[in-house]
Assembly symmetry: D2
Homo-oligomer: 259 residues x 4
């Protein structure tokens, strides 16, 4: 499907605020960016760089007063999420070097404290895609999707206690449990067609049988038509805007429509 996505952010500040955005999707195996627009109002200088995960990042200094960013993107994305029940989990010694970092615990994904739980959830099936599918199902069943029950400090351990959260928390818990059984897992933020209410979305990917597969514990069934904006170890790495100063967010509008 060809998707048109728009994300518009409006801020108000009373001081200059250095900011790093991560708002520009990149073309890759699963998505092709056909057209893109990145508008700043008022116009300020921008430096673009690629972070350690391959994300395109934009550094600006937000000026005093009102500031608005609009990112439009037209992209071709996959209608279906790939599944492969028979794909085997790699032994750690056979993993590519560049995915090893996604085995380690991170700010919001304390995999080091979840080893027993993860084994009890996933241990009943062979070491394949099915183990991650069981983890995804378990998180989906155990956690209730409820706005306002978590915040930007909430970790996978806390979500495990409260059993409530939003997409970000479902992803963190899924990631932490995967890493706890030595499956590389990473955070994804992006757009999802027909999300309701429309907003940015978070999910996770697990490395199985030599490639990354998409998992989303928030929903009861796989859904395609996703546009990835950024990858990272967890939410600390993929904030769409990291701001170093005081600001008020005045509005955020996201639209996703078929082209």
């Amino acid at each position: 499907m060809i998707l048109d996505t728009t994300c518009q952010l409006a801020y108000h500040t009373t001081e200059e605020v250095p900011t790093i955005f991560m708002l520009r999707p990149r073309s890759g195996w699963a998505q092709w960016i056909m057209r893109e627009e990145f508008l700043l109002y008022p116009r300020v200088p921008v430096i673009e760089f690629t972070d350690g995960y391959g994300n395109l990042c934009q550094r600006i200094v937000m000026p005093v007063g009102d500031f608005q960013i609009t990112v439009h993107c037209r992209a071709e994305v996959a209608d279906q999420v790939d599944e492969d029940q028979t794909a085997r989990l790699a032994l750690v010694q056979h993993l590519p070097t560049e995915v090893l970092q996604f085995l380690l615990p991170s700010r919001y994904c304390q995999s080091d404290e979840l080893i027993s739980l993860a084994a009890s959830i996933a241990g009943s099936v062979p070491p394949t895609y099915q183990q991650v599918a069981l983890i995804r199902d378990w998180v989906h069943q155990q956690v209730r999707n409820e706005q306002g029950t978590s915040n930007s400090f909430t970790t996978a351990l806390e979500t495990l206690n409260t059993r409530r959260g939003v997409c970000r928390d479902f992803a963190h818990l899924g990631i932490a449990l995967c890493r706890a059984i030595n499956v590389p897992a990473r955070m994804v933020v992006g757009f999802l067609h027909e999300l309701y209410p429309m907003d940015l979305h978070a999910w996770f990917e697990a490395f199985i049988g030599g490639r990354w597969f998409t998992f989303d514990a928030t929903y009861d069934r796989p859904r395609g038509n996703r546009l990835v904006v950024a990858y990272g170890r967890d939410a600390a790495d993929v904030a769409l805007a990291t701001m170093f100063g005081n600001f008020t967010m005045q509005s955020m509008q996201v639209t996703v429509t078929p082209a």
Copy 2:
């Protein structure tokens, strides 16, 4: 100035031809990409990657028959090229590690054979920006800009012999002479406003006083309003299309207009 650039390439092939394009400018210190469009007809899968110089590259397999690519870009670029007669050349031991590779000879820039010549051209002034300016002036004066006098195999040494060439050859000779006096120099391809006849253009950059400066030996005076598409050691690294098979190029159209 805000520039709208378009580059349209049309090919005909009788076999599938794996191709690597390098056609998408990136935002950086001197340019900001506000809007971009990348259209393939017919549509084929594309994998995008970043090469060792930071260029965005697109891998496709060109299908049998007619194939067309169109890249539109709206970008804000600098009206003027920076100059700094007093900027000092760094001693080799003080150069940043990442620019050292631009001191080495490369396919079309045999700097290792030009050490005496370079010293005789640049040696009369202090080790500053002025040495590179002298090299640029010397190349501009010695080489005649003449279509059809060189080809894709032509090297800096050959240009030195024939004293004729096109923008690519002016750049190669300038680069080779800079490296011969231990000044890091790199090839640039991109768009230049008011180039006549309009086409893609090539020039070079030299690393002086901690940053890269733009030099263009093809013209008698500095001109701004450039949009960089790719950097490399020489033309071998920055071909806009590297094709592994047989093909006919049917047309190439470049337009650059103020927005």
Copy 3:
């Protein structure tokens, strides 16, 4: 000073255990490796790679039974730790791209929850090296150095509560507080001459005035003669051995002597 360091680790396993070691110091600005030896007994195949922080890592599969690793290193290191009370903290917008990742919260350094505390500790002096020195002093005064009061899950927030810990915990709290005032900070593990009892040691570095400075909150005064083995965001990145399986550590011996 020229230091001879040895680290010998002995393990026993009942299954094959994939393991990643991070035990080989690299030459750099502050240390020069003159001689090095890396012995495995029994001998097994080793793959070496460089991780995202520049650390040399060794992948092996530890065989069933007894396994021993010995790393000897002779290196020239600085006698004194550099200090510069006047070095200014950079504004975030002026930081080099590659240090931005050390501003983010990480597994054991929840800087996002310490913003007020950090401001209250460091806010009384100008935005210079002195702010980090105040943070270091505060951690040193507030936390008691006591073996057995923390474990491998302990985070900076927990150390803040218990006010007890070991070198690793002093470093985590220092790092988290630095990041909370927008100063890039990273974890260091390595060897320290005259540490008592001798062991590996952990400390931190903060990025001030364009370079990294060494800070060690465990001790009351600066001490030189350090040999860095690995850098990372926190202890999750710099484990000297990350083992994916069951094992018993039978002994660990560290010696550091002047050559």
Copy 4:
């Protein structure tokens, strides 16, 4: 086999000469560095970095007068060179991104001018390992190994004309012909057991069936017991010492003995 290698270089200079060495082998798939020593006399500061090909490089400023470097290394290396007549050449579209650079022409390997020749040499056999083996054999048969017939400027095209050269020239011609049939090929310098007279050696690797294979056109049969010191596109990238100033090399001694 376990090899002890030593390389000792002695220089005399009348000015300070910035120098980049590439003398420290790294552990990898085919070799494991067990012990290493790197001695400078007189002792000067050294900065170590990793270049774009993964080589460990050392930057120093050689002082005025006599200067000596000694590198000892004990390493375990493979007794045999792997061969696989059935390994298939990958289509360009299936090559990993990171090997694409080894398809391009480079300073001493003008593959762009050798397309017809390469096809005529290799075209009689299927697109497998055998094509590279034919290229290797052809170079071995056509070029005479003769000291003093080439120099540091000699390119593959020139070797093709004179049909004389040393190991470096055999490697360049082999590399250029491989690239001309779209097989990624790279230069290797290192040590070879039982080389006579003993010296550093150069050979090449070609990427076939998903991995690099070793080829050496200088000898009539495959020989194992090689210790790789550096990889690159050609000799321009892998000079063991790149010196930016005037110097006299007073001696160079290489020894390779079984441990």
